[in-house]
């Protein structure tokens, strides 16, 4: 059952010069209950605008929006009353890149703020807030002010606040983008844990494919307001259809870092860099050795990694293949036969044109 259903959603707004910007164009998105749905894209792709339509922080210009069985928007018209929307929003938690905590009240009061209209007594609100802080491991910081906490801790407070009204859905708007890698890992692990414990559905926007790979089970790739590709994470990673998706899947930070580190300057005409992505279970033979034996190309390994996507081991190899153009073509054909998804890069980690 879809818990979030967006149909033909468009968002237009005028820019500073009065020109109309199509921030989101004809987007269809179904999020099933229990999904961790990632929305990736470069900044300016319209990801934030899109997910803000889910709780109507952003009003769409056209399309239908249905959340948790309630129609929010039909044909671009808000059909839910503002008062009802207020109640519905309490069941859709949201966390932000800049945390957006209230600076002038304590951590505890930040969480209690969300429970102001819960009908609980003051004492119960305090107990529940403390319990929520315990859930994110920050009970001991209850009486601190947000500014006294680190970025990662502030985001955990924001998570506790977003979960206060026991929402079914949690929207994460670049929640880890302002954090260092270690804190990012912690927050992602926490989200994964909370999802299981609280039976949440999570929509996560990010520009980092690595974050998506870490916790999502489905992914949509956005470019210029449109969703260019969507599906199960495994399928999108293994068989990316669009150039942008390939660059995202391949453009993982490690690969780009590796190529930058190597300073390959110019590749010779008979050299090509490929990224190979494959399901480890499907590839039993050693591809690198086979390439040398059967086609006679020299293969140098630049980078290799195996990661678990939804519990399935997925390998990523970055290789430099040396051989004339005929042999290069044979190589590509051979790899495709082996169900290896490959993307050609130039020496700087950009897609090869």
């Amino acid at each position: 059952m879809s818990i979030i259903e967006l149909k033909h959603v468009n968002v237009d707004f005028p820019d500073k010069k009065g020109k109309i910007v199509h921030a989101v164009q004809d987007v269809n998105l179904n999020v099933e209950k229990g999904d961790i749905y990632g929305v990736v894209g470069f900044s300016g792709a319209g990801k934030s605008t899109l997910v803000r339509t889910i709780n109507l922080l952003q009003k769409p210009t056209a399309g239908d929006i249905q959340v948790n069985g309630t129609d929010f928007v039909k044909d671009g018209k808000q059909i839910i009353a503002n008062k009802q929307l207020q109640l519905a929003r309490r069941k859709i938690g949201m966390i932000f890149q800049s945390f957006n905590l209230l600076n002038e009240v304590t951590v505890l009061e930040n969480v209690s703020f969300a429970l102001k209209h819960s009908g609980l007594k003051d004492k119960e609100i305090e107990e529940k807030s403390l319990h929520l802080l315990d859930l994110v491991d920050l009970k001991d910081k209850a009486n601190f002010y947000p500014v006294q906490l680190s970025g990662g801790q502030q985001q955990r407070v924001a998570i506790a606040r977003a979960l206060a009204n026991e929402p079914d859905i949690l929207i994460s708007d670049e929640a880890t983008s302002a954090l260092d890698p270690q804190n990012t890992q912690q927050i992602l692990a926490l989200l994964k844990k909370l999802k299981k414990e609280l039976n949440l559905t999570i929509v996560l926007i990010t520009h980092e494919m690595d974050a998506v790979k870490k916790i999502c089970d489905k992914v949509a790739v956005m470019e210029q307001g449109k969703i260019v590709e969507k599906g199960k994470l495994r399928d999108v990673v293994l068989h990316p259809q669009m150039a942008l998706t390939k660059s995202f899947v391949g453009g993982s930070i490690e690969v780009i870092n590796t190529l930058e580190m190597l300073h390959l300057d110019h590749l010779n005409d008979d050299e090509a860099i490929y990224q190979l992505v494959y399901s480890v279970a499907n590839v039993t033979k050693s591809i690198v050795i086979d390439l040398y034996r059967e086609i006679g190309v020299e293969v140098s390994m630049l980078y290799g990694n195996v990661e678990l996507l939804d519990d399935e081991p997925i390998g990523t190899l970055l290789v430099l293949v040396k051989g004339d153009s005929e042999k290069q073509q044979e190589t590509v054909a051979f790899l495709k036969e082996q169900q290896v998804s490959l993307t050609r890069f130039d020496e700087k980690g950009n897609l090869y044109e």
């Binding site: 709780n55 922080l57 207020q86 109640l87 519905a88 929003r89 309490r90 859709i92 938690g93 949201m94 932000f96 800049s98 957006n100 905590l101 209230l102 600076n103 002038e104 009240v105 703020f113 969300a114 102001k116 209209h117 002010y145 947000p146 500014v147 006294q148 924001a158 606040r161 977003a162 206060a164 009204n165 929207i171």
Partner: protein
């Protein structure tokens, strides 16, 4: 000491403490006018400031009519020089307090003179509250009153104290002019009993007293602005 003081400041001593022209009387008058017009002007200023922020185009309740109305009222009253405002609204003052002269009559022009100045500063202070905090509150299903009181006014409180301090100081300046409609106060003492009678010692002491008053307001304001601020380390 006291004989030295009365020889250097003869006219100051002559005015005495109590009585119509006494120092005590004029200090009380200045404090009375400052206090009450700060209360009335403060309430008006906050109401106008809040309405301006809520009804602007990207506010949480965009409304061109109310925004333009408040914006124009504030702009027009700010444009009128205070000494002219005193005379200009005298008939209104008459209606409200029943007289056109004296300390109470001065409260009407003082309030109207100070509130637009304050409203603009409240507007700027509230606009400094990050839009993200408003969005976060909305995403939690907060009501408009939650957003006004818990987010806008509370998050901007240190900035509000700071602009209130500036406003009260400029208000003390305005009360000095209220002497023109017989409201008394230290400003009136400096002009009527000092300057007009060539009693420079009276002008000097009145000035020093006003400066002390302003310093006290500034120090108290700075103290609370700092104490109430948890925005940055």
């Amino acid at each position: 000491m006291s004989s030295w003081f009365s020889s250097v400041f003869p006219n100051v001593v002559q005015l005495g403490w109590s009585g119509d022209a006494g120092w005590g009387t004029s200090i009380v008058q200045t404090l009375f006018m400052t206090f009450w017009s700060a209360i009335f002007g403060g309430i008006l200023g906050i109401v106008f400031g809040v309405v301006l922020v809520l009804t602007k185009d990207d506010g949480i309740r965009p409304n061109k009519f109310w925004f333009n109305l408040c914006d124009k009222v504030v702009s027009i009253f700010r444009a009128i020089p205070f000494i002219i405002l005193l005379a200009f609204i005298a008939p209104v003052t008459q209606k409200i307090v029943g007289t056109q002269i004296g300390m109470k009559a001065a409260l009407v022009p003082l309030t109207l003179g100070v509130f637009p100045f304050y409203a603009r500063q409240v507007q700027v202070a509230l606009e400094s509250v990050a839009q993200g905090k408003i969005e976060a509150a909305q995403s939690l299903g907060a009501t408009i009153w939650d957003i006004i009181f818990s987010i806008y006014l509370n998050e901007a409180r240190s900035e509000l104290v700071r602009v209130s301090t500036v406003t009260i100081i400029s208000l003390i300046g305005l009360t000095a002019m209220a002497g023109a409609i017989g409201a008394g106060g230290l400003g009136n003492t400096a002009i009527s009993y000092g300057y007009n009678r060539f009693n420079n010692d009276v002008t000097l002491v009145a000035t020093v007293l006003v400066i002390i008053l302003i310093f006290i307001v500034q120090i108290v304001g700075d103290f609370f602005a700092k104490k109430l601020n948890h925005q940055s380390r």
